[in-house]
């Protein structure tokens, strides 16, 4: 059990005209080498900002104000920009949600994958061209020798996502961060891409962070999972436990919100995610929680280990159970 990545008390704020917005406020998790760590939550919970913070590609208004991101023993936050450039795409690579928008429309896909190879590895042009074809073949692109000359607009969304994955795999990274990699794709294509990611993991042992809003995807690909709400983790444990014995009212609420078949009324979570500028005192979920008691509103509960490896940010975690 070797820890590949350890995020410790990470805080990323966005500085806007109305003061700082705490997009991530004290986030900690460990990624064990060779496993898939799922980050799940609704829009605005900070899951994508987590990815951008690790890669250090935040937009100008965003700043990581404190915390540590230990990757292979070194703190990424202490690296210079030049060092980071070597790590991005080399050691850690990322797959984005919108495959068509993430590729450059004016270069061929072959050129774009080759660029990733040449900027990190010392190989000849000829070797890199060969490698591009191999990579495209590995991600299931039909007739890769011909397709290298295609531009992104000539490919479908699913094929573009395969190109993105080929690019992410180009330098055999030890970590891939996949940010909603199948959200823009159709169901049958989603199944193809998830299957491809599973194969990559089995064959190369690459560790992954899978960011998604879909609990179904978590159940299928992740080994362990953290549920995020308003910039913090509210529950984290292994995947089996989160579905069998969820303890945080938000996790329970998310699972109950899913339709299970023909049936009765769904148990929806009332209200909506509070705006980052209007977070309540105390537990951030207290405004929507059906188990709320007075104590919840006074101070924010810490993440507490209720069972080995099962962390919950709720003072009533011991007594609450999903029915």
């Amino acid at each position: 059990m070797e820890t590949l990545l350890s995020v410790q008390d990470l805080k990323t704020y966005f500085y806007t005209g109305d003061g700082p917005i705490k997009a991530i406020d004290g986030l900690s998790f460990d990624l064990i080498k060779g496993t898939v760590f799922g980050l799940v939550g609704e829009s605005g919970c900070g899951k994508s900002v987590t990815a951008l913070s690790i890669m250090r590609i935040l937009p100008p208004a965003g700043k990581t104000v404190s915390g540590k991101i230990i990757f292979k023993g070194d703190d990424l936050l202490g690296k210079t920009e030049v060092e980071m450039r070597g790590i991005r795409g080399g050691e850690i690579s990322m797959i984005f949600q919108e495959p068509i928008a993430s590729l450059n429309p004016i270069f061929t896909i072959g050129y774009q994958i080759e660029e990733a190879i040449l900027s990190h590895l010392k190989v000849s042009k000829r070797e890199s061209k060969k490698r591009v074809v191999e990579l495209l073949k590995a991600v299931g692109m039909p007739s890769p020798e011909i397709r290298v000359k295609d531009y992104p607009h000539q490919l479908s969304g699913g094929m573009c996502q395969r190109v993105m994955i080929a690019m992410a795999m180009a330098c055999e990274p030890s970590l891939i961060i996949a940010d909603e990699p199948t959200t823009a794709l159709d169901v049958t294509i989603q199944a193809q891409i998830l299957d491809l990611l599973r194969k990559i993991r089995e064959e190369s042992g690459t560790s992954m962070i899978m960011i998604t809003h879909d609990l179904g995807i978590i159940a299928e690909v992740a080994d362990s999972v953290a549920v995020m709400y308003t910039g913090r983790i509210v529950e984290s444990t292994d995947t089996k436990t989160i579905f069998r014995d969820p303890r945080h009212p938000y996790t329970i609420g998310l699972l109950d919100s899913l339709p299970k078949g023909k049936g009765e009324k769904l148990v929806a979570i009332p209200g909506m995610v509070p705006k980052p500028s209007e977070l309540p005192e105390g537990c951030k979920f207290s405004t929507r929680c059906r188990y709320v008691i007075e104590e919840c509103q006074s101070s924010e509960p810490p993440l507490k280990e209720i069972d080995t490896g099962h962390w919950v940010r709720c003072i009533r975690a011991g007594e609450i159970k999903r029915l």
Binding site: S156, T188, I217, E220, T239, F243, D256, L258, G263
Partner: protein
Amino acid sequence: MINSNLLTVKGLKKYFDTRVGFLKKPAFVHAVDGVDLNVGYKDVLGLVGESGCGKSTLGRSILRLIEPTSGEIIFDGEDMMKVDNRRLRALRRKMQIIFQDPFSSLNPRKRVIDTVGEPFIIHGIAKGKALKEQVVSILEKVGLSSDSLYRYPHEFSGGQRQRIGIARALAVEPVFIVADEPLSALDVSIQAQIINLLQELQTSLGISFLFISHDLKVVRHFSERVTVMYLGIIVEMGRTEEIFTNPQHPYTEALLTAIPMPDPSKKRKKIILAGDVPNPAQIPPGCRFHPRCPKRIEPCDRIRPKTTDLGGGHLVECHLRG
């Protein structure tokens, strides 16, 4: 003949001409290519399929929001294709649509009272003080308070905006609503709220729905019957539980196993389809699904299968069941 259906659609086609330059030969995209379906009173028909299969085009053609190329649409005993514009306008009072994206389907310059009140004015139902009262009562039905009357869409969250969109559709007391992916722009916890709202309205007001969605879990929850579309045609149709537990078309089967299920203890065998979602401008000969079908047999690439009635309203278009 007495027709017990609210809506009967026969052989509906919608072709889009995609030719560029007027000397070129016409090139047609067969978005909807001969669809038969019916929706009963207080019925919910789910319509599933992948992007580009023509499900939105079908929904809009039925309302004549886009003009169908040919076919028959009998709504409440009247032939929608034959009525004049005046009558069509009157019929529109009974049929409404809820759109997918609550961010772009509301006019950002109109206050809630203007958006939800507009149908009342257009159809000459109410104005002035009566209008305000009516709008308030509809907002209450969809779970919005009366203090939202004079606010603009940007002041609301996605879920609340979708409630405004639903209120607008309900304003004229329709008997039929086409809901075109009403949940796909919303977060999971908000989706559940909107599904509950739609279900409440459906039972309390007895509205019939054509519920278009790519999310099979939601369709299963909400629909009485399900229709599966592929490349402009219906490949399978039947009662919801029947389709979900006993799918007969290989495409339906693949769709069902492709959904990631939020239960890691159940390991299912997935059918992963090869190839891409096809282009409706290049429809394959024979069975339209044959290039991706894992169970393809001899005549599939030449002869289009006939629709087979398996009983109980379960229809399928596949050589294996023919």
